[in-house]
C-alpha cells in the first residue's frame, strides 16, 4: 500500500485501516472475525473499483504527480536486463534531470533516455525535479545520435513538469537545444518509441517525445503548459487550475481521442505506484510489441510514416 494517500483515496484508506484494526483485535482477543473481515474486504474492493474506475482528470493529475509514482529509474531497473548509464553533453555538464545510457531489452541492446525526478527532497534538488537544462536535452541528443550510429532502437521515458526556466538555461540556449532535438528525432534512422510515464510538460517533454510511437501510461498527463500556469496566464487566476485540467484535455484518454498519442498503457487499479512491478512488466510488453512492429520496416518507410504522423496533427478549415 502506498504510504502517501491522495485526497480522493481517503474513504478507501479509512476502510483499509478498519480492516487492519479488526484483524489485530481478532488475533489479540482470540475471537474469530473472519466473516466480518471478509465482508469488509469485499466492501473495500468494491469501493476501490468505484473510485478508481472513474477517475476524474484532476484526480489523474494527482496520480501522475504522486511522489511514489514509478519513474524512469524504476522502469530501467524492472524492464531491462542490464543498464550502463552514460553521462554528459560534452559541452558544459551532466544534467541529472535526464538519465540515459545503453540497456539490454529482452536480449537486444537499446538506448534509453528519460527524465529523472527524485524520491526525496535531496534527490529532487540534485535532479532539479526532472526539469532539464539545455545540457540534459543535449545529452539526450548525443545519446540519440550514438544510438543511430550503432543501430540501436531508442526508448524514451517522459516525466517532467517542463524545461527548466532559469537564467543559465536561457544563456545556454534552451530553445535551440529543444528545436535541434525535435528536428533530429524526426530524421533518426532507428526506431524511436516514446512513453509518457508521469508528467509530460511543454517543450521540455516534447524534446524527447518525438518518434514512431507515442504511448501514455493511463494516468499520465501531457500538456502544453502546467494547468497552474494555464490558469494564471489565460484567466489571471492560478486557483482555477482544476478547471484548467479539464479544459486543456491533458489525460491519456483525451489525447488518444484527439489523435495525439498512439496507445494507452493500462495501469494497476488506483495507479502505477500501487503495483510498480505489474506496470513495469506491462510496459515492457508494450515496448516489445511496438519494437517488433518497427523492426522489419525499411528505414525510409519508417521515416515517412513518422513524418506523416506529425504532419497530420492540427485542426483547421480551408476558408
Amino acid at each position: 500500500m502506498p504510504s502517501i494517500m491522495l485526497e480522493f483515496e481517503k474513504p478507501i484508506a479509512e476502510l483499509e485501516a478498519k480492516i487492519e484494526e479488526l484483524k489485530n483485535f481478532s488475533s489479540e482477543q482470540g475471537i474469530d472475525l473472519a466473516e466480518e473481515i471478509k465482508i469488509m474486504q469485499a466492501k473495500a474492493e468494491a469501493l476501490k473499483k468505484e473510485i478508481f474506475g472513474k477517475l476524474t482528470p484532476v484526480q489523474r493529475v494527482t496520480i501522475a504527480r504522486h511522489p511514489e509514482r514509478p519513474g524512469t529509474l524504476e522502469y530501467i531497473k524492472h524492464i531491462f536486463e542490464e543498464f550502463i548509464e552514460l553521462h554528459g553533453d560534452r559541452y558544459f555538464g551532466d544534467d541529472r534531470a535526464v538519465i540515459g545510457g545503453i540497456a539490454r531489452f529482452r536480449g537486444v541492446p537499446v538506448t534509453v533516455i528519460g527524465h529523472a525526478k527524485g524520491k526525496d527532497t535531496k534527490e529532487n534538488l540534485a535532479r532539479n525535479f526532472g526539469m532539464p537544462n539545455p545540457e540534459g536535452n543535449r545529452k539526450a541528443l548525443r545519446l540519440m545520435e550514438q544510438a543511430e550510429k550503432f543501430g540501436r532502437p531508442v526508448f524514451t521515458f517522459v516525466d517532467t513538469p517542463g524545461a527548466h526556466c532559469g537564467m543559465g538555461a536561457e544563456e545556454r540556449g534552451q530553445a535551440r537545444a529543444i528545436a535541434v532535438n525535435l528536428t533530429r528525432l524526426m530524421q533518426l534512422r532507428v526506431p524511436v518509441i516514446n512513453t509518457i510515464i508521469g508528467e509530460g510538460g511543454s517543450g521540455g517533454a516534447l524534446a524527447i517525445a518525438v518518434g514512431d510511437r507515442l504511448m501514455m501510461l493511463e494516468n499520465s498527463v501531457f500538456s502544453v503548459i502546467s494547468p497552474e500556469s494555464f490558469a494564471s496566464i489565460l484567466w489571471k487566476d492560478p486557483t482555477r487550475a482544476q478547471e484548467a485540467v479539464e479544459a486543456m484535455k491533458m489525460t491519456a484518454y483525451d489525447l488518444a481521442e484527439l489523435g495525439i498519442i498512439d496507445e494507452i498503457v493500462p495501469e494497476p487499479l488506483g495507479g502505477a505506484h500501487r503495483n510498480p512491478e505489474e506496470i513495469a512488466a506491462r510496459l515492457g510488453d508494450y515496448l516489445k510489441k511496438n519494437l517488433d512492429s518497427l523492426k522489419e520496416m525499411p528505414v525510409a518507410e519508417m521515416l515517412q510514416k513518422r513524418y506523416e504522423k506529425f504532419r497530420g496533427i492540427g485542426q483547421f478549415i480551408s476558408g
Binding site: 530553445a175 528545436a179 524526426m186 511543454s202 486543456m248 483547421f316
Partner: protein, 290 residues
C-alpha cells in the same frame, strides 16, 4: 566586459498597445523611449523607427512583407486557412474573430512566394498583433506548407518570427506544431536549401524552441525580446530580478545564439547579400562537392 554584457540596449521596442492608449486618434504617435511625438505617416515611411532615438515600433506582417520583398513580387499562399476550436475552448472563436477584425489577417502568420533582390524565395512573416503571434494549428500548418513549398520549388526560405509562444487554447495540438514544423525543416536541410530566420520583437516560447531557432543563419532585429521563458515568468518562478538587457537580441548575440543583429534599415540588403552568396535555387557549392 561584464558591464558590457548587460548593457542597456541601444534600441528599445515600443509596444503598440501603450502607444494606442496615449494617442487616441492615431494621427500622432509618441515614442515611449524618448517621448518624441511622431507623425504616424512619417513613421510608416521610416520603417517604423523613431527618428530621434532610433527605437522601433513593431511592424505588422503585411508591412514587413512590403519593406522586405521586391515591389509587387509577393504572392500570398494558404491565406484561407482558418482556426477551429479543437478543444471546445470557451471564448476562443470570439478571440480569433476579434484578432481577424483588428489585424485584417486570418491568422498569426502570412506566407507566400516573393522575390528579394532578384532572388525567388518562400517567405513567412508572423504578426504579433494576432493573439500575440501564438502558434496553433494554422500557424503550424502554414509554416510547414511554406517549408514544403520551398523544397518543392528548390528555393530558399525566409521566416520572420514574432510570437508569444504556443496557442494555449489549442492545448497539446499547439505544442505538437513544434515537432511538425521541425520535421519539415529536417527535410529542407536534407535538400540542401538555405533557411534564414529573422527574429523580431518578441520571439519566445514554442516558436523560438522550434522553427525560429533552426535557421542556417539566424538574424535578430535590435532590441527584440528573444526568450524561451519570458522574463516575467522567470522572475516570478525563480524569485529573482533579471539584469537589464537580459534576453535581448544583443544578449543572444553575446551568448552565441544568433549570427547577427541587423538594424531594420539594413535588413533587406543583408538578406539580398546572403541570398546572392548562396545563389538562387539552393546551394550550387553543395551540389558541386556532393
Amino acid at each position: 566586459m561584464f558591464k558590457d554584457l548587460f548593457r542597456k540596449p541601444k534600441y528599445v521596442t515600443v509596444h503598440a498597445d501603450t502607444v494606442k492608449k496615449d494617442m487616441p486618434d492615431g494621427l500622432w504617435q509618441k515614442c515611449p523611449n524618448c517621448n518624441e511625438i511622431l507623425y504616424a505617416k512619417e513613421l510608416e515611411k521610416g520603417l517604423k523607427t523613431c527618428r530621434k532615438c532610433g527605437g522601433y515600433f513593431r511592424v505588422g506582417a503585411r508591412e514587413r512583407v512590403k519593406i522586405t520583398v521586391d515591389e509587387g513580387s509577393f504572392v500570398e499562399t494558404d491565406a484561407g486557412l482558418l482556426s477551429t476550436n479543437p478543444l471546445g475552448f470557451e471564448d476562443y472563436p470570439a478571440k480569433v474573430a476579434a484578432a481577424v477584425e483588428v489585424t485584417k489577417l486570418n491568422e498569426a502568420v502570412v506566407t507566400g512566394e516573393a522575390v528579394i533582390g532578384g532572388n525567388p524565395v518562400i517567405i513567412g512573416v508572423m504578426d504579433n498583433n494576432f493573439i500575440m503571434g501564438s502558434m496553433g494549428s494554422v500557424v503550424g500548418e502554414k509554416v510547414t506548407r511554406a517549408v514544403e513549398r520551398a523544397i518543392e520549388k528548390n528555393i530558399p526560405l525566409i521566416m520572420f518570427t514574432a510570437s508569444g509562444g504556443a496557442r494555449m487554447q489549442e492545448g497539446v495540438i499547439s505544442l505538437m506544431q513544434m515537432a511538425k514544423t521541425c520535421g519539415a525543416l529536417a527535410r529542407l536541410h536534407e535538400a540542401g536549401l538555405l533557411y534564414i530566420t529573422v527574429l523580431t520583437d518578441p520571439t519566445t516560447g514554442g516558436v523560438l524552441a522550434s522553427f525560429a531557432s533552426m535557421g542556417d543563419i539566424i538574424i535578430a532585429e535590435p532590441g527584440s525580446l528573444i526568450a524561451f521563458t519570458g522574463p516575467r515568468v522567470i522572475e516570478q518562478t525563480m524569485k529573482i530580478k533579471l539584469p537589464e538587457g537580459f534576453q535581448t537580441a544583443e544578449f543572444m548575440l553575446d551568448h552565441g545564439l544568433v549570427d547577427m543583429v541587423v538594424a531594420r534599415a539594413d535588413l533587406r540588403n543583408t538578406l539580398i547579400k546572403l541570398l546572392d552568396l548562396h545563389m538562387t535555387g539552393g546551394n550550387a557549392n553543395a551540389q558541386h562537392y556532393a
